[in-house]
């Protein structure tokens, strides 16, 4: 592989890992809200979370561009207040991936929280645990396989994200040129076929490793629970 291809692979791994880890706490919080609480605007939140799943990725990317771009209201504020810049940076690619992967993350975690017996949670309450500790000591350990599954889905989605990323942060080698972007570029230039094929194989390998890893992790948690 060429140095350019290595850079793209490394960047993609960085972007996907950052996107997954950064969105995980928010994903767990939103999934818990949707699974366990009744509140005003719940269906609005549900719809908003799922929107990236049904919108064309280019539209999501464009919305990110006009809100988180340098001159967008949120982007300008973050730049002035904290010096955080998303546009045309790898962090912007991570943000786009996080937004695109969020529905998958929330969906998997929400389903597994809903599968946790609320009667166990109320039992923990009678033993003196407040709602926060009930979540940490009972709900979270019991829905952990779902959290892992959601994180893997989010990671896989991030590895393959193309439309929103290229719209929001463009295709800058070494900064925002992720694996799919480079494959796209290579298919547009003469003689790029071999490179595109190599990266395709790498992409397949990473996806399969991620799936295998999640399977092993889920099995270890399950076995631990039964045996120990």
């Amino acid at each position: 592989m060429t140095p350019e291809e290595w850079t793209a692979v490394r960047l993609s791994l960085l972007v996907a890992t950052t996107a997954t880890l950064a969105s995980l706490p928010f994903g767990v919080a939103v999934a818990w809200l949707l699974a366990r609480r009744q509140f005003w605007g719940k269906s609005l939140l549900d719809t908003l979370v799922h929107l990236p799943l049904i919108l064309p990725p280019v539209v999501t990317g464009y919305l990110l561009l006009i809100s988180f771009g340098k001159r967008g209201p949120i982007g300008a504020f973050l730049d002035q207040a904290f010096g955080i810049v998303f546009s045309f940076r790898w962090t912007g690619a991570a943000l786009a991936c996080a937004v695109m992967g969020f529905p998958l993350l929330v969906r998997a975690i929400r389903l597994s929280i809903e599968a946790v017996d609320v009667r166990l949670e109320s039992a923990a309450g009678t033993l003196g645990a407040n709602p926060f500790w009930v979540f940490i000591t009972v709900t979270l350990p019991l829905c952990l396989p779902g959290v892992i599954a959601g994180a893997i889905l989010c990671f896989a989605k991030s590895m393959g994200e193309f439309g929103a990323t290229i719209t929001f942060v463009s295709n800058i080698p070494g900064e925002t040129q992720t694996l799919p972007s480079l494959i796209y570029t290579l298919t547009q230039v003469p003689g790029g076929d071999a490179g595109a094929m190599r990266l395709t194989l790498v992409s397949i390998a990473i996806s399969m490793l991620a799936l295998l890893g999640s399977e092993l992790l889920a099995r270890r948690i399950g076995a631990h629970r039964i045996a120990a």
Partner: protein
């Protein structure tokens, strides 16, 4: 320690309006399925918020809708033993037991240690196991231990034995008796089993369609229970054991009773629950009869039941005993209030519950 409850709660078309106060010891909430027992316990435990009412334990208000007081369940210091044990499947038995202790460590005070509770319940050999490898009886004992170790001010037990077979019940009942007598924590105990209530309760609250229809000491209230059984409760003490025949001899106000060998020491107080249909009446002291128990008494009342049956209430030296006979027998023997009779009870009719 006392418990005061006065609540109104509607759920759909079902209404609960209950008001009672319970003395220290074990208070049994007794009634048919669907009479609102579990909802009432959930209200005391803070799992259900009633439309109106007040709940206080030992003078401390847990709920008062008028004064807008609602203490959430995690701050009520209750121990709740659920019908379905609800042990945490991802924690070992030891960590299940210690779960509540960690959250209630500030409450401390007269903290019951792990060791005495484990001994009391006989669960020492289970500590490193996972809940899903336990039998139903073991699970319930661990659930009781877990509730106790949270240092509760009041222990709530919602049919803790309902999911178990006879043998497992017999295994746990002595532990509940010891809790009542040794731990000094008031217990609110839900049951629809007359035998359990007769054996365990200090006070009985009868709930019918969401309303309290009777409250009082067990011997006064239980015969009123509409259970279709109408047995009587005799307070007795173990006088001696007859090892040769595997019998125990009890002394009660009504006289001596011989029952199948009990596993309690001589001098221990026990309760004999005698079902009305197990009592036979004779006008003369019966001779050459297999039954070992004959109690002399006087008829207090004859109450015709529906159809062929009648209930005869006896006064045996101050203790109340009920016999269920056919109307035919009542007429044949001319049974009427004031008449002296002999009650005959087979020893084998006593269950070891």
């Amino acid at each position: 320690m006392s418990l005061e409850v006065d609540i109104d709660h509607a759920r759909g078309s079902f209404r609960i309006a209950a008001r009672f106060s319970a003395a220290p010891g074990l208070t049994a909430l007794f009634g048919r399925s669907g009479s609102g027992k579990t909802t009432l316990v959930d209200i005391v435990g803070g799992l259900v918020r009633p439309d109106r009412g007040r709940v206080a334990v030992d003078g401390q208000v847990l709920l008062d809708t008028e004064r807008r007081v609602f203490v959430p369940s995690h701050r009520r210091r209750i121990g709740y033993v659920f019908q379905d044990s609800r042990l945490f499947p991802h924690l070992s038995v030891r960590r299940n037991l210690l779960y509540g202790r960690w959250f209630n460590r500030e409450a401390g005070g007269t903290a019951a240690g792990l060791a005495p509770v484990v001994d009391l319940l006989g669960i020492g050999h289970l500590l490193e196991r996972r809940p899903d490898s336990l039998s139903g009886g073991e699970k319930q004992r661990v659930a009781i231990g877990r509730a106790l170790l949270a240092h509760p001010q009041v222990l709530l037990m919602d049919e803790p034995l309902a999911a178990l077979d006879e043998a497992r019940r017999a295994e746990i009942l002595p532990y509940i008796e010891r809790l009542r007598d040794e731990m000094g924590v008031p217990i609110l105990y839900v049951s629809h089993s007359v035998a359990e209530v007769a054996r365990l309760a200090t006070t009985v609250v009868i709930l019918t369609d969401g309303k309290v229809t009777a409250v009082g000491p067990v011997a006064d209230i239980l015969p009123l229970a509409d259970s279709g059984d109408g047995g009587s409760v005799l307070d007795a003490t173990v006088a001696r054991h007859d090892e040769a025949f595997q019998l125990s001899v009890l002394t009660s106000a009504a006289g001596e009773l011989q029952v199948p060998r009990l596993s309690v020491p001589v001098g221990a107080p026990v309760r004999a629950y005698i079902r009305a249909r197990d009592v036979m009446l004779s006008l003369k002291p019966p001779e050459e009869i297999s039954a070992l128990n004959v109690l002399a008494g006087r008829i207090a009342a004859v109450e015709p039941g529906g159809g062929a049956q009648a209930e005869v209430k006896l006064d045996c030296n101050g203790a109340a005993l009920t016999a269920r006979l056919t109307v035919k027998s009542v007429q044949r023997l001319a049974l009427a209030p004031g008449k002296p009779v002999y009650a005959v009870i087979k020893s084998v009719s006593f269950e070891r519950s």
